[in-house]
């Protein structure tokens, strides 16, 4: 219970910091938008091609965006010298991770929901009939990205070249997320859409596995 209440307080802090400036959300949204537009030059975005490549393209853009968005997660604490205070304020350091990863999942989900209509219009893919399933995939995928990304941003924040390092560490680790979410999303973009339960289950397993490791190793990640 103590974990949940301290997580709630920290989550409130994360959300308040972000919504005061909305820096992360605006930059990430614009970044994904740019990538989506630039991708359209690499192939002919007619409806048939979009069905085949759209899902992968969307997820690739989101992963790139996430690897940039997760950057300040711990860097901000470090440059403001607030990490030690944060550590002292909670009994379980997992609460810090939990708050940050929930906040990051929310930010990513918000970006995705803002961009989905734009993507649907530009690439002529119909998203409305399967919207609830798309939201589920986006949620599971973003959760996985946030769990691993939050953990690795705690690592990369302590290294040199940290801005470059996080994508290098994170992107290969996210291969399973990219493969599974792309497959599930592609099935939902299909002419006769269907839900690929195997992929949904896989994403859930990924999230659960890394959440467990983060729970076990979290305290070491924040060691001074």
């Amino acid at each position: 219970m103590a974990l949940l209440s301290s997580t709630a307080v920290l989550l409130d802090k994360e959300l308040r910091t972000e919504f005061r400036s909305r820096e992360l959300l605006t930059t990430t949204t614009v970044f994904v938008l740019i990538v989506i537009v630039l991708f359209s030059f690499s192939f002919d975005p007619t409806s048939e091609e979009s069905r085949r490549f759209g899902a992968g393209l969307l997820w690739l853009a989101l992963l790139f965006a996430a690897s940039l968005m997760l950057q300040p997660c711990f860097l901000r604490e470090q440059s403001n010298d607030t990490l030690s205070a944060l550590r002292l304020s909670v009994s379980d350091p997992f609460a810090i991770f939990l708050a940050k990863l929930v906040a990051n999942t929310l930010f990513l989900l918000l970006t995705e929901l803002l961009l989905l209509p734009v993507f649907a219009v530009l690439y002529n893919v119909s998203v409305l009939p399967m919207l609830h399933w798309l939201v589920l995939v986006f949620f599971l995928g973003s959760l996985g990205v946030s769990i691993t990304g939050t953990a690795l941003s705690a690592i990369s924040a302590q290294a040199r070249m940290r801005e470059l390092l996080l994508p290098l560490l994170l992107l290969p680790l996210l291969t399973p997320i990219l493969v599974a979410s792309t497959e599930v999303t592609a099935a939902l973009f299909d002419r006769s859409p269907y839900v690929q339960w195997k992929g949904v289950g896989f994403l859930a397993v990924f999230d659960l596995a890394f959440l467990t490791i983060l729970w076990l190793l979290g305290e070491y990640l924040l060691e001074e």
């Binding site: 690592i155 290098l168 599974a180 896989f202 397993v205 596995a209 070491y220």
Partner: protein
């Protein structure tokens, strides 16, 4: 004679014997002919690479729990040897694939997942070069190593489920599939020789890392004085 020289000689002998066995003792494959003989080097390297990464993972875990520098030294050494053997796998694969499949590379499950595995450990070694302070470097890289190793089965699973051309597992695969008994023996012998080589490399690399560790301590003491 010095122990290290003797063990090196044993490993060279084993490697020579396994090379001889791969070329002259194992029978020629009915369909593929001579080219299949690269299998012994390819598969044995793959197994050895995975063994090495597993050692790296165990060393990483032990470092996080015990904080003794020797686990860090073992971790980086095993990470590097694993990377060497995985590089051999990635190089011998296309040499075999070109005549048999007609292409050098295909984005099939095992190829892709081995490539991702390779990239993960490149990142692991890269991370080490970017953290100055030894204890911090050891801890951070050990933690990343654990994350990377847990990711490996997920990478293999995801890619294998959704995209595939590599020969289905012949060893412990479907019934009816399987190697000739002599081929099995040669393969396991090659693996043994490769494990010998791995141990040799690991030992040398570990000693080098240990000396580096000592040197770092001396340097810091000098700076402090």
């Amino acid at each position: 004679m010095k122990k290290s020289v003797l063990s090196a000689m044993v490993v060279v002998l084993l490697l020579g014997l396994s090379g001889y066995a791969s070329f002259f003792i194992a029978p020629t494959d009915a369909k593929q002919g001579l080219i299949y003989r690269i299998l012994f080097l390819h598969v044995a390297s793959a197994w050895t690479g995975l063994t090495s990464f597993f050692i790296c993972f165990i060393a990483n875990l032990l470092y996080v729990l015990r904080r003794q520098p020797r686990w860090d030294w073992l971790g980086v050494s095993a990470g590097e040897t694993g990377l060497v053997f995985t590089t051999v796998v990635l190089l011998t694969g296309p040499i075999w694939a070109h005549p048999v499949w007609g292409i050098w590379w295909t984005w099939d499950a095992r190829l892709t997942s081995t490539f991702v595995l390779w990239l993960l450990y490149v990142s692991y070694l890269l991370l080490r070069t970017l953290v100055e302070e030894p204890d911090r470097r050891a801890l951070l890289s050990a933690l990343f190593g654990i994350f990377a190793f847990i990711d490996v089965p997920l990478v293999f699973g995801s890619i294998r489920w959704w995209r595939t051309q590599h020969p289905q597992p012949i060893i412990m695969g479907a019934p009816g599939a399987g190697l000739d008994p002599t081929m099995y023996k040669v393969l396991f012998f090659t693996w043994l020789a490769m494990l010998g080589l791995m141990t040799l490399l690991l030992r040398q690399r570990y000693r080098l890392e240990a000396m580096r560790g000592d040197l770092e301590i001396i340097q810091r003491e000098l700076e402090a004085a």
